[in-house]
């Protein structure tokens, strides 16, 4: 038995089918767009410092310079800034003078391209290059109180300034290398940085908020560490967390990743020394 439809009926059915196809296509396109925007980069208006994801108590600890334990590291650096080192007994202050004037904005543009190294170098590397080249003193070891102190003291001079790292044309290829590392799945858990900090930002992992992962306050005081640590310590932590082999301190890979993270956070104000849980 065949169903006979009037001309009017056939027209209505055709319209319905077209509409259904259109709606399905629209849903597909929006879903695809959504996935792209989620997996892509965070727009400038949506950038959010991890400061805002902390408890009111931790925020109060960071905001009060006499309660912020990171300020102890800054004080340590302030003393080292004036302390002579090397055979010529020269201090940082002998060349650079008052850090409040000469070091303002320096941390906001690091990692910065170094023509001698032909790659971007981090603030820690810059301090050690200056130490080896100008002071002729032994370089400071990573995560030593002295290197953390000097880095925190220099970075503290840029507190409140917007991040500008990666603006240099010569840094561009390294930003791209850092972006690749950020998006690359790694470790036994097969997770990329982006899998959590871009795709699931604002969500929760084991009850804790997932921040966007902007390096706005390094070196920072981490309550879990009970001490101040560098961004590279944090990155190596995260790599161990996904059961991947972490890159060495001072490796070009970590510098590129740092550069990309700073470029990704450009515009956000620096908070050094920040407090994080």
């Amino acid at each position: 038995m065949s169903v006979r439809l009037s001309r009017m009926h056939r027209f209505a059915v055709a319209m319905f089918v077209f509409a259904a196809i259109f709606v399905c296509a629209a849903i597909f396109v929006f879903a695809a767009l959504g996935a792209v925007s989620l997996a892509g980069e965070i727009g400038p208006q949506d950038l959010r410092s991890g400061f805002l994801d902390m408890s009111p108590e931790s925020r109060a600890m960071q905001s009060d310079d006499t309660a912020n334990p990171g300020m102890l590291t800054v004080l340590e650096g302030e003393a080292l800034w004036r302390q002579p080192a090397g055979p010529n007994r020269r201090s940082c202050a002998d060349c650079h003078g008052d850090a409040a004037a000469t070091m303002r904005g320096v941390a906001a543009r690091h990692p910065a391209y170094s023509p001698a190294q032909q790659r971007p170098i981090t603030l820690e590397e810059r301090i050690n290059l200056c130490r080896a080249g100008q002071q002729k003193a032994a370089p400071l070891t990573w995560e030593s109180p002295a290197l953390l102190g000097l880095t925190a003291y220099v970075a503290h001079q840029s507190r409140g300034l917007p991040i500008t790292a990666g603006d240099d044309e010569r840094s561009r290829p390294f930003v791209d290398e850092g972006r690749q590392l950020f998006a690359q799945r790694q470790g036994q858990l097969n997770l990329s940085c982006a899998a959590c900090h871009t795709d699931h930002r604002g969500g929760r992992l084991a009850g804790n908020p997932i921040p966007q992962g902007h390096p706005t306050g390094y070196p920072l005081y981490r309550l879990e560490w009970q001490s101040t640590g560098s961004l590279q310590r944090r990155l190596r932590n995260c790599m161990t967390g996904v059961r991947a082999e972490p890159y060495e301190y001072g490796s070009p890979e970590l510098a590129n990743l740092e550069l990309y993270l700073m470029w990704r956070a450009r515009g956000l104000p620096l908070e050094t020394p920040a407090v994080r849980p």
Binding site: D65, A67, L72
Partner: protein
């Protein structure tokens, strides 16, 4: 010498309640943590903290291994007279650090 951050109001009115905050850098090693080789890191903590106002003790606290690194203490007192507040931390190895801050009371 460990670095300390102390917050005392520079000036206060007589009879006013003032808040005093003291933060000192110290690892507060509990003695229960193993190092990379598996051996226990020897205990190293601050045992007591005290504050004296013109020589008279106004606050004292005993610390224990469960206190976090870089201990932060906040307390209040009555501003009674101009003079100095002295802060003393004593570690369990007997090391002592004392810091002083002036206060003007009108």
């Amino acid at each position: 010498m460990a670095r300390a951050l102390i917050n005392v109001p520079k000036a206060a009115k007589r009879g006013e309640v003032i808040e005093i905050r003291a933060l000192i850098s110290h690892p507060m090693e509990s003695g229960f943590r193993p190092d990379e080789s598996g051996k226990l890191v020897p205990r190293s903590i601050i045992k007591t903290f005290s504050c004296a106002y013109n020589g008279e003790e106004i606050f004292r606290a005993d610390f224990f291994p469960a206190v976090a690194a870089n201990p932060f203490v906040s307390f209040t007192t009555l501003a009674s007279a101009s003079g100095t507040l002295s802060f003393t931390w004593v570690s369990d190895t007997g090391e002592t650090q004392t810091e002083t801050r002036p206060i003007t009371v009108e």
